[in-house]
Symmetry: C2
Subunit: 584 residues, 2 copies
C-alpha cells in the first residue's frame, strides 16, 4: 500500500542505520520489524509479487526458521552462483522501474551498487528518509542516553592528540575537512562512550573536523556540562544532532572534504557532493583505531585476565550444577556467565548477544537462545558458549565448546580438527606485508584435509571498549589488501557445524606483535590474550601432531598459572585437573 | 649517440620480443646485448646520465655479478619500497621529456603503464621498431627452423575442435575475431611445434581467427607442403609472417576483435585500435591450454616416469663417480643428466636452461654454470640441480638438492624446512574456488616459523611439450584471482638461499585432480607427477611431524616401486637403500 502510494515497483530495506552500525538502536531495526529476521546481516527487498531476505551462510539455518510461515523467501549469499539483490532486481524488474530506498539507512556505496546494477533498466532510485514511519506506528524515537568520557588512563591518548594526527592525514589527502558518521570512530576519536546501542558503548552522533575545529553533533541533553567542559579542553565543540545537515549545507562551496562512502549514508553523501569536492576514501580513523597503543593493549591483557576468572568460575559452577542434576537451560547458563563478568572491576556489560547453544543448536553459528524455547543442558554431548564482556580497559570475545558428558566419535573428531585450526593461527609467524587472507589458509588446512569447511571468516578485529567487531583487518578467504600490523587485535575462531547434530567453535583473541627484523624482512607474531582452559578430554590425540599438543599443554599451563591465584581452593584444584598436560 | 640523434631523454629496452616470450630468439636478446645481464626478467633504462637494470629478487646476486664493471646500476624489484622504472623515470625526467621504446618489443600493457606514470611530465613515448638495429651491427635475423605437427595421439584434441571452442568464446565476448601473438598459444591451438626458441618448442608466428577462418602467419619456407596440407584439413591457412600487419590493416573498419594487452606488443595493439574495436581481455586460449585433457595428463605421467629413470641413473652415476674421485664440474654433471634424458622414447631436449649449482652457487636461485668458471663437485655440502626435459608427450621440471658428503647443521636445517614446505602443498586438499595465493601460505609456514623466507613464487604452471612456465595459475603471495582447477599442472618449489654458503630447493610437479563433492563443496587435491627419490640422510628428524615423515616414506616407496623395474640391478639396489623408510 505504501509502495503503491509512492508509485514504487520495489522497496529495499537495508540492515543498517544512518551510521552504518552493525547493532542498531530499536528505532532503526527496520529489517527485523518488517520480516521478523533477527540476524545481524541481511537486506529485505519487497516487490509487487515477492518478499525476499538476502543473507549469508552464517544465517541460513536461523533465517529459514525465523521466516517460516511468512511470505519472505531466503536468498542465500556467499555460496556458489549467489545472486545479490541488486542483480536480482535487475532481472526481476522492468524498464523504467522505480525503487524506493531509505537514503539515511543505506550506505553511499550500497546505493551506488544498486544504481549501477539497475542502469540497464533505466530505473530510478527514490530515496526518502524514514519511509516506514507511515506504517510503523509505534516506531521508537532517537535514544537519549547520556555520554561519558573515557579517561586517558584507559584510552592512552588524549583526544587532542588524536585530532592533531587526523588533521595531518586530512592535509596529506589534500583536504580541509572530514566528516565522520561511524559511531565507534567518533567515540574513539573523542574518547567518549555512550549507551545508545545494545552491546556497543557508543552514542548516536556525527562529527565534522577541519583544520581548527572539531564538532560533535549529538542530541542535546545527552551531554552534561562536565563533559562539554572536558571536550572543550580537547578542542571539541558540541552542536545538536539535528543541526548536522544544516551545517554541511553551509560549508563554503568547493570545500575539499574527506568522506567514506563505505560507511556514510547515501543522503548525507549526496548532500555533500551537491556542495563540496568529496574525497571518497576509507576514513583514516579506522586504521588508527585498530592499532592499539600500549595502554590499550595492557588494558586488554587485564580484561582477559578478569574474563578468564569469570569463565573458569562459570565452568566450575556448570560442572557442579550438572553433577547435582540441577536443570539449566541455555539461557540460564549464559546469564550466569554474564553475571560472573559483572563482578570484575570496571565491568561494563556484555560485548555482544551471547551464543549459548547446546547440542544441535550449536550447528547455527549465530544462534541466540530464546528464553522460552531454550534447550536444557544434558549430561552428554557438546555445549558451545560464545560471549564477551566490556570493561573500561578493554573488550573481550571468547568461544569455548565443552563436553557435558559422553561424546560421539564425530563430535570428538570435529572438536579436535577445529582446535588444530585454531592452534595453527595462534603460533603463526609472518612477514610484514602478510594479509589476513594469507593466514586464513593455515586455519582451514587441518579441516580441509578431512574435507570439512566452515562458512564464515576466521577472524575479525576487536575494538577497545568499543565494538566487538571492527575493521580494517580480518582473516578470511576473500582478499582484503590490508596488512596485519603490530597492535592489531584479531579473533581466531574456526568452527565445524553439523546441522541437526552438533557444532564446535574454539575462539581465542590474538594481539599482533613485532618479533624481530632479519635478512628476510620484519617478522610478526601473535600473543594469545584469551585466558581460559581448553578441555582436552574430547581430543582424538591420534589426529594431532606433537607440536600441536605441545602448544596446547603450554597454553593450558599458562591459563592455570595466571588464573589460579584468583580462584577459590576448590576451583583451582578443579582447574589444575582440567589443565593437566596431554600425553601423546 | 643513438638517443641524441633521436632526441630522446631516455630509452627503455624491455626484456621481451614481439610475442611476449620469456625465452627469446637471439634476434631479440636486446637486454643481454646492451647490458650483459643474462637473467630471464628485467628492463634496461638508459638516460643521459644513468644506465639501470630493473629486476627482481631472483636475480639480485646474479645481476650484481654480471653488471660488475659496467655502468649499469641494479634497481631491485619485489622488495619493500621498490621503485619500478616508470615511477623512477617520472621522478628523474623533466617536463616534456621524450622516451624511446621499441613498440614491437614491449607489451601494450607495459607501454600504457609507462605512459600513465609519465602523464604528469607531459612526456612523449616515441615508439620505433628495432631502434637498436642502428648500432647492433651483427644482430641475428629471424629464425628459420621448420615447424612440425604434434599428432593427436599426443595432443588429445584436434586443432579443428580447439578452434570451434575458441570461436564460441569469441562470440560470447561479442567479437568476430581474435588475434594471437603468444607463441605457445598458437602452437597449442594449431597442434604445431617448432624450434625457434631455445627450450621452447614453438615457432615465431602470429595467428588471426575469425568465425570461419584461421590464419597462421609464419616466415615462408618454415612450413613444408605436408604440414600445410594437414593444417588445411584442420581449417587453417598459412600466410607470410611479414604480411601480418597488412592483413590487420585490411580488416573491415569496426571489426570487433579480441586482443590481450598483457601479451600483445604495443605496435600491433596500436595498429588494431586505429582500425577496429578492440576487446582487451585475457586470451581464452591461456586457460584452455592450462587445463590438460586426459591424453595430455597421461603423457605427463609417462614423461615423469622416463624423467625419473634418467634422474636416478644420473644420481647413481654421480655417487659412483665421486666415490672414484673423478673430478666433475657443475657443467659436466648437468650435461650428463641432459644426455640421460635423450635416451627416452620421444625425448625432445632440455625444457629450460638447467641450474646446476654446487655449494655457495646454489644460493643464486637462477644460477646457470658458465663452463669456464663452473665449480667442481667436492665430497661435502649440498649440490642443487634444477632441470627438465621435453618429450613429445609432456614437459618436465624438477629440482633435487642432494648431499655429496658431510653437511653442516645449517644445511641440514634448511634442507628439512624447505622439504616440509614442499610436503605441505603436495598433500593439500582444497575447495574449488581456492587460488594459488591461498595455498602459498601452507608452503611458507614451516619456514616462517623459523623466520626464513624465499624471495620467489612457490609454483608456476607447466605446458604440455610447450613452455615450462605458463599461466594463468601460479602459487605465490601476490593475489591472482585465478582458481586452481582440475587438469592444471603446477610446480611446487620452495627453497632457502644463504648467500655465500649454500642453497636448497625441492621441486615436484603437481596435477590438480577432483576428489569429491560433499555438503561443504567440491574438493580438489594434487597428484605428484615427479618420480625421483628425496634423499633422507640430510633430514633433521626432530623438525618433522609424524605425518610429514609418513608422506615422505610413501613418496619414496612409490618412486622405488615405479622406477626399479627400469633400472639395472646395481642401480635398483642403490635406489632401494636411498628410499628406505625413515624411522622417527
Amino acid at each position: 500500500m505504501l509502495m503503491q502510494k509512492a508509485g514504487w515497483d520495489a522497496a529495499v530495506i537495508s540492515g543498517t542505520d544512518p551510521h552504518g552500525s552493525e547493532y542498531l538502536p530499536e528505532r532503526w531495526q527496520q529489517r527485523k520489524w518488517i520480516s521478523g529476521f533477527t540476524g545481524s546481516y541481511g537486506t529485505v527487498v519487497i516487490t509487487r509479487d515477492h518478499a525476499g531476505l538476502w543473507t549469508d551462510t552464517r544465517y541460513f539455518i536461523q533465517s529459514r526458521k525465523e521466516l517460516e510461515g511468512t511470505e519472505f523467501e531466503l536468498h542465500p549469499l556467499r555460496v556458489p552462483k549467489a545472486v545479490d539483490y541488486p542483480e536480482w532486481l535487475a532481472t526481476n524488474l522492468t524498464t523504467g522501474a522505480i525503487v524506493g530506498i531509505d537514503g539515511e539507512c543505506v550506505t553511499y556505496r550500497d546505493a551506488e551498487r544498486l544504481r549501477k546494477a539497475l542502469k540497464g533498466l533505466d530505473a530510478t532510485l527514490d530515496s526518502r528518509a524514514s519511509f516506514l514511519n507511515a506504517i510503523w506506528n509505534d516506531r521508537p524515537g532517537l535514544p537519549l542516553n547520556p555520554v561519558f568520557i573515557l579517561e586517558e588512563k584507559y584510552s592512552g591518548k588524549a583526544a587532542r592528540e588524536k585530532l592533531e594526527h587526523l588533521r595531518q592525514q586530512i592535509k596529506e589527502e589534500g583536504c580541509s575537512h572530514i566528516v565522520l558518521n561511524s559511531l565507534d570512530q567518533i567515540a574513539w576519536l573523542f574518547n567518549l562512550r555512550g549507551h545508545d546501542i545494545p552491546f556497543n558503548p557508543v552514542a548516536v552522533s556525527y562529527a565534522l573536523i577541519d583544520e581548527k575545529n572539531a564538532t560533535f553533533f549529538i542530541t542535546p541533553g545527552k551531554v552534561s556540562e562536565n563533559v562539554i567542559q572536558i571536550l572543550r579542553e580537547q578542542g571539541i565543540s558540541v552542536m545538536p544532532y539535528d543541526s548536522f545537515p544544516v551545517v554541511l549545507q553551509s560549508l563554503p562551496p568547493q570545500t575539499r572534504i574527506m568522506a567514506d562512502g563505505n560507511t556514510l549514508n547515501y543522503s548525507t553523501f549526496q548532500a555533500l557532493i551537491a556542495n563540496c569536492t568529496v574525497q571518497d576514501v576509507q576514513s583514516p580513523v579506522i586504521l588508527d583505531k585498530a592499532i592499539k597503543n600500549s595502554v590499550e593493549t595492557n588494558g586488554f591483557r587485564k580484561a582477559y585476565l578478569n574474563d578468564g576468572i569469570a569463565l573458569e568460575r562459570f565452568f566450575f559452577w556448570l560442572v557442579r550444577s550438572l553433577e547435582k542434576d540441577i536443570v539449566l537451560t541455555e539461557t540460564d547458563a549464559a546469564k550466569k556467565l554474564s553475571w560472573m563478568r559483572t563482578l570484575a572491576e570496571g565491568a561494563m556489560g556484555d560485548s555482544f548477544q551471547y551464543i549459548s547453544a547446546y547440542g544441535p543448536n550449536a550447528s547455527l553459528p549465530h544462534y541466540a537462545p530464546n528464553p522460552k524455547t531454550a534447550l536444557s543442558l544434558l549430561k552428554k554431548g557438546l555445549y558451545l558458549i560464545d560471549s564477551g564482556g566490556h570493561y573500561l580497559y578493554g573488550t573481550t570475545d571468547i568461544t569455548r565448546t565443552v563436553p557435558l558428558g559422553p561424546l560421539t566419535q564425530a563430535e570428538r573428531q570435529d572438536y579436535t580438527l577445529a582446535l588444530k585450526g585454531m592452534i595453527a593461527l595462534s603460533r603463526a609467524v609472518f612477514l610484514k606485508g602478510t594479509k589476513g587472507t594469507h593466514l586464513d589458509m593455515l586455519v582451514r588446512d587441518p579441516l580441509w584435509r578431512h574435507r570439512i569447511n566452515y562458512g564464515h571468516g576466521t577472524g575479525h578485529g576487536t575494538g577497545h571498549f568499543l565494538c566487538v567487531h571492527e575493521g580494517p583487518q580480518d582473516i578470511r578467504m576473500t582478499w582484503r589488501d590490508q596488512d596485519l600490523l603490530p597492535g592489531m587485535i584479531t579473533s581466531n575462531e574456526p568452527g565445524i557445524y553439523r546441522e541437526g547434530s552438533h557444532g564446535v567453535r574454539h575462539e581465542n583473541v590474538l594481539l599482533c606483535n613485532l618479533l624481530e627484523e632479519n635478512e628476510f624482512g620484519i617478522w610478526l607474531g601473535f600473543e594469545t590474550l584469551t585466558l581460559c582452559h581448553i578441555d582436552t578430554s574430547p581430543l582424538l590425540i591420534s589426529l594431532m601432531e606433537p607440536s600441536e599438543v605441545e602448544w596446547l599443554n603450554a597454553y593450558n599451563r599458562s591459563v592455570y598459572t595466571k588464573l589460579a591465584p584468583f580462584l577459590t581452593y576448590d576451583e583451582s584444584v578443579w582447574l589444575e585437573k582440567k589443565t593437566a598436560p596431554v600425553v601423546m
